[in-house]
């Protein structure tokens, strides 16, 4: 299903509260990211692409679902840009659209094992669906 609603850089600014134009592309965020290898677009690229208005590409990115929300990127940014918030804002722009949930409760039973904590399920549902 294609994305129906156009999302602009202004929308990402409004949702994230992050001014991507402050980014100086030093790459420290991507260097700090513990899940860098799993991402097609990396944290510093989110900042650059939001600035250029390339939101559609980011909305189709698999990196949206690989971010661990560990805040290493935000912590280590020397310009206070908080890439984690940019990634979250783009992810929200996708999953808020009809039919665009990335993971639903139906998918959970087969992912469960005896020890998995409720915290994991609640967190994944918050991150991957609306």
């Amino acid at each position: 299903m294609s994305l129906t609603n156009k999302v602009t850089a202004e929308d990402i600014l409004r949702i994230s509260g992050v001014d991507a134009s402050r980014c100086m592309q030093c790459g420290k965020c991507s260097g700090a990211c513990p899940n860098y290898d799993e991402m097609d677009y990396h944290p510093h690229q989110f900042a650059a692409m939001v600035r250029k208005g390339k939101i559609t590409e980011l909305m189709e990115s698999k990196a949206l679902y690989q971010c661990l929300s560990c805040f290493a990127c935000s912590q280590r940014c020397p310009r206070g840009v908080e890439p984690a918030k940019l990634i979250e804002a783009v992810r929200l722009s996708v999953i808020r659209q009809k039919g665009k949930n990335y993971m639903t409760a139906d998918a959970l039973p087969e992912k469960l094992d005896e020890k998995i904590p409720q915290q994991a399920l609640v967190s994944a549902m918050r991150k991957y669906s609306k």
Binding site: R14, I15, S16, G17, P34, N35, D37, E38, Y65, Q66, L68, S69, C70, F71, A72, S74, Q75, E82, A84, K85, E88, A89, L92, M103, L108, K111, D113, K115, I116, P117, Q118, Q119, A120, L121, V122, S123, A124, R126, K127, Y128
Partner: protein, 263 residues
């Protein structure tokens, strides 16, 4: 000393040790932890969107209930602590979020971030004091080399969490010393365990967990301690051959204070 206490959902189910040993130890230290009635799940992750209001409301209800009782609110789970602390700061500092959340909740008195959110480790460090804790220990854990696993959520973002130095924390090492054990410092102690991504990309979570566990093992640790049920799960289930035993910090605390019971 009486505090409000927010256990969170996982501490009632898969992480009972974190909760029960935390309560037993607090009692021994003369701290009364009062659980509010009808608390709701914090949601597990802090909703970063500035326009996310509904997902912040359960935290606001908990925070406002503590304010009504005039209590500081103690947390144990790293994730609950992270969510409650950051939502509380939003209610204090972000006028739009504060106004919109209060419009939804229609409390008798609007909530404006008045409650202090304190993690159990901060309680030990700042209210009890590690010297006093050391004096209360009846069974020092003297032969143990313990790797403290901080993970992400207690420390970052440092400006908001205000928990410790986010890149070179010491509170868990000081805690371990107070119990009579030896802390082991290792490079991955504040890097992510893989978090909820264990449900989406198991291989990536396995790489993260094994990196953390092998970093601690290489530094000579006997076991890892954590304050987070999801960290414990990842470090146990996803670390593969490099896995070390993992315990909640409260279990060792209860043991050292001589109040540990088998669950």
């Amino acid at each position: 000393m009486t505090y409000g206490y927010y256990p969170g959902c996982t501490l009632k189910t898969k992480a009972k040790e974190l909760d029960v040993y935390g309560r037993l130890a607090a009692q021994k230290l003369g701290i009364l932890l009062e659980e509010p009635e009808n608390w709701q799940c914090c949601g597990g992750v802090y909703p970063q969107g500035e326009d996310e209001i509904a997902t912040k409301l359960s935290s606001v209800r908990t925070l406002a209930a503590a304010k009504e009782k005039g209590q500081d609110l103690v947390t144990l789970c790293s994730a609950c602590h992270h969510v409650l602390k950051r939502v509380n700061l939003d209610m204090k500092n972000n006028e739009t979020i504060r106004q919109r959340a209060n419009n939804y909740l229609k409390l008798d008195t609007p909530y404006g971030g008045e409650t202090e959110v304190i993690h159990y480790l901060e309680l030990l460090r700042d209210k009890v004091g590690f010297d006093n804790l050391k004096n209360a220990v009846v069974k020092p854990l003297k032969d143990l080399r313990i790797a403290p696993y901080y993970g992400c959520l207690l420390l970052r973002p440092g400006k908001e969490m205000g928990f410790d130095d986010p890149e070179d924390p010491t509170v868990m090492e000081d805690f371990i010393r107070a119990l009579g054990a030896t802390p082991v410092k290792y490079s991955q102690r504040n890097e992510c365990c893989g978090g909820y991504v264990t449900l989406e990309n198991k291989d990536a979570a396995k790489r993260r967990a094994s990196t953390v566990a092998s970093s601690a093992a290489d530094a000579g640790a006997d076991l890892l301690i954590t304050a987070c049920p999801l960290c414990l799960y990842n470090l146990e289930a996803n670390a593969g051959p490099s896995a070390l035993p993992v315990k909640y910090f409260t279990e060792l605390l209860a043991e050292a204070l001589g109040v540990k019971e088998e669950l």
